[in-house]
């Protein structure tokens, strides 16, 4: 006899329910339900396009900056001939990367460690989070919820004094990473391809990964082994990957959203298939050595997923260091793009902490006619059918009663508020 159990998953930037169907002692089917919705897309309709710069960051308290950058990119695409200085582009990339870093620290310490019964002092998460907030604020005014990225650049001007503050904090952050997460040279770590090498080091990451191995959980949470990345910049590569088979070309016309019964979330498919997005997907596309090795051993499991997420931290630290060095303060912070087009369409794509984020808007007679947001959690958590389950669903199906279902679920780093935009 099948047994149905409804479980509340909390502290995922809101909540979700999972409806498990157990057959004997195993999960036979699972459905993920989001009960609330806020209607941000509807709120934007009829408004001045620039209002979106103020409203969309409020989709999410932890990844709102990614929403701002997606919005500004979508708005900028509406202009036929928009100029953006390299400085403005770089500063935006920088604040976005700082937000990713902050998310990674928070998720690892506040979400993952407690589920592994590991404790770390609160300052290991508070300090880097606070510093990253300060670094964003130095360039963008405040964090969370600023609106400093506007069509044509950024609202203010950056001085060498601001950059000095950013540089000093960056140095501090690197120390905190090595002192807390893993004591290893960043450059070396990015090229490391041996799991044992990582496990040998001191830090909370090796401890967490060792705990997963000790408990025999390293192969749990495997899904369809299909990955997708839409964002492309100097750090991430766009494309999809079926297992390790890469395909660079993607076309947004193949993306389809549909409603999920009993839930306020919408699923999203690419050419009729569900894909995992996020740090594991990005690492697969980039062929990050350590993650490819984890994937070779354990597949698209929670082990690979957690490792991929935390291993983005050193990459992002190196990337942001290079970005800071590249800023040429003599360039303009803003180039007037002229009046906003009366009728236009635009798409903004961003790699947010949890994966690809896509904003699309249509402007008619100077007002927003429609605004659509596709969030990473929709890719990872969208329900499918029994025959063709979604990514997280598939990871949950087959788990035994004693398996850590919550850890499997949270290894995707669910953002409930984004999903219930």
């Amino acid at each position: 006899m099948a047994e149905v159990r409804l479980e509340l998953i909390e502290k995922i930037e809101g909540e979700a329910q999972v409806r498990y169907v157990y057959e004997k002692e195993q999960v036979d089917f699972a459905e993920i339900l989001f009960l609330t919705g806020r209607g941000i897309e509807k709120i934007l309709e009829g408004r001045d396009p620039w209002d979106a710069l103020t409203i969309t960051p409020r989709v999410c308290g932890i990844c709102g900056h990614a929403h701002l950058i997606a919005t500004v990119r979508a708005l900028e695409e509406c202009y036929a001939d928009l100029k953006l200085s390299r400085k403005a582009r770089t500063v935006r990339e920088l604040t976005l990367a700082f937000e990713l870093l902050q998310n990674h620290f928070k998720w690892f310490y506040l979400t993952i460690l407690p589920l592994l019964d590991l404790e770390a002092p609160m300052r290991r998460v508070l300090e880097p989070s606070r510093i990253l907030g300060e670094m964003i604020a130095l360039l963008a005014g405040q964090y969370p919820h600023n609106s400093y990225a506007i069509p044509g650049g950024i609202t203010g001007e950056i001085t060498p004094v601001d950059l000095l503050g950013v540089r000093q904090r960056h140095r501090h952050l690197q120390k905190l990473f090595r002192r807390g997460v893993i004591d290893v040279d960043l450059e070396l770590f990015v090229h490391c391809d041996r799991i044992e090498e990582m496990l040998k080091r001191a830090g909370d990451l090796p401890q967490a990964m060792q705990r997963i191995l000790d408990r025999g959980w390293e192969r749990l949470g495997r899904s369809h082994d299909r990955f997708i990345v839409f964002g492309q910049n100097d750090l991430f590569a766009a494309g999809k990957s079926i297992g390790t088979r890469l395909q660079k070309h993607l076309d947004l016309r193949y993306l389809r959203e549909s409603a999920i019964e009993g839930s306020r979330a919408r699923r999203v498919l690419y050419r009729g298939k569900s894909y995992e997005t996020g740090p594991l997907a990005r690492a697969m596309l980039l062929k990050t050595p350590l993650i490819r090795e984890a994937h070779r051993r354990y597949g698209d499991s929670l082990f690979s997923r957690i490792l991929a997420r935390v291993c983005e931290i050193p990459r992002l630290l190196r990337y942001t260091e290079a970005l800071i060095a590249r800023i040429d303060l003599s360039e303009p912070a803003w180039i007037d793009p002229g009046p906003f087009p009366e009728n236009a369409e635009g798409t903004g794509i961003v790699e947010a902490a949890r994966g690809s984020l896509i904003h699309r808007l249509r402007v008619k007679e100077g007002k927003i006619a429609s605004y659509r947001i596709v969030t990473p959690t929709q890719w990872n958590l969208g329900n499918g059918s029994r025959e063709n389950p979604g990514i997280a669903q598939s990871a949950l199906i087959g788990l035994h009663r004693e398996d850590p279902a919550e850890l499997v679920f949270k290894s995707f780093d669910v953002c409930s508020v984004c999903t219930t935009k």
């Binding site: 806020r38 209607g39 409020r58 308290g61 907030g133 130095l138 600023n146 950024i154």
Partner: protein, 291 residues
């Protein structure tokens, strides 16, 4: 002191902003989280639904919605159970206070006591023990500071909307580094510059918005207006109004004037200020004079 944080339709921005409070760890020693949406707490949300004891301050976050169910219980039912027992109720952020952004996204949505400026009266029995801490998000210093002052039973003067005056008697304009451009009516403003004031063209609401954004700097370092972004008036009941990046005008003069300043007084003052032509404010601030 024991705190219970109950989110309705929220973005979690207030919860995340609080973590940036510079003395968070020391501050937290005086409090116990019965439930917080991010931080380790004494209880799970399911336990909170079943019923827990000892709530002293109830924190309401997010926009309320008729019929909203968090898990099994209606939010209203959950709120009322703990509101009766709590010594204080604090609405955290603009959504919980006035309805905020999300109130525009559906029917039956509001703040705890307000729909915009209007008191709706659904929870009038709790009005006297409620404090309003609007902001999108609320500044961590404002939330942490208010809770600490409540704990030590300091007198906390409130305005008519129950906002603590220590934090909301100032306007966002106070302390802005662009103030001179406002005072002397230099009305040209271009984005991407250190100079200029966003009041005249770009919708800055700093002069009529209650808040400490330029007194208590964000993340301890900066503010939106200092970074050239107009104040969006996010602590006020009418947030977010339409056309946030444009100043609406009446006969060429901004339609909304600084708090408490009559139109006539403003016009006289503006006329005089403009006549001065302060040269220093008409050229780039960082112009190098050596060359």
């Amino acid at each position: 002191m024991r705190l219970l944080w109950l989110s309705a339709l929220a973005c979690n921005g207030n919860a995340h902003a609080l973590l940036n409070y510079p003395r968070f760890e020391e501050w937290q020693e005086d409090f116990e989280w019965l439930y917080h949406p991010l931080l380790p707490s004494t209880h799970t949300l399911a336990e909170v639904e079943e019923g827990i004891d000892g709530v002293e301050i109830l924190l309401v976050d997010g926009t309320l919605e008729e019929g909203l169910v968090k898990n099994r219980l209606a939010y209203k039912q959950l709120f009322e159970r703990y509101a009766v027992e709590a010594k204080y109720i604090v609405t955290v952020g603009t959504c919980a206070t006035f309805g905020g952004i999300f109130a525009q996204g559906g029917e039956g949505r509001s703040g705890l006591h307000f729909s915009g400026e209007r008191r709706h009266g659904f929870f009038d029995g709790f009005w006297e023990k409620t404090l309003s801490l609007p902001g999108c998000p609320v500044q961590p210093e404002v939330l942490a500071g208010t809770l600490s002052l409540l704990r030590s039973e300091e007198p906390l003067p409130l305005d008519t909307l129950h906002r603590p005056k220590y934090f909301y008697a100032h306007t966002v304009h106070d302390g802005c580094t662009r103030n001179e451009y406002f005072e002397y009516k230099i009305d040209e403003h271009r984005f991407g510059a250190l100079e200029g004031c966003m009041f005249y063209e770009h919708g800055c609401q700093g002069t009529f918005t209650h808040g400490s954004c330029n007194k208590i700097l964000w993340n301890g370092v900066h503010s939106k207006t200092r970074a050239g972004t107009p104040c969006m008036g996010c602590t006020e009941p009418d947030f977010p109004r339409e056309g946030l990046w444009h100043t609406s005008k009446r006969m060429g003069i901004p339609a909304r004037l600084p708090l408490g300043v009559p139109r006539r007084a403003y016009l006289s003052l503006a006329g005089i200020a403009k006549a001065f032509h302060i040269e220093r404010l008409e050229r780039p601030m960082m112009e190098d004079k050596r060359g």
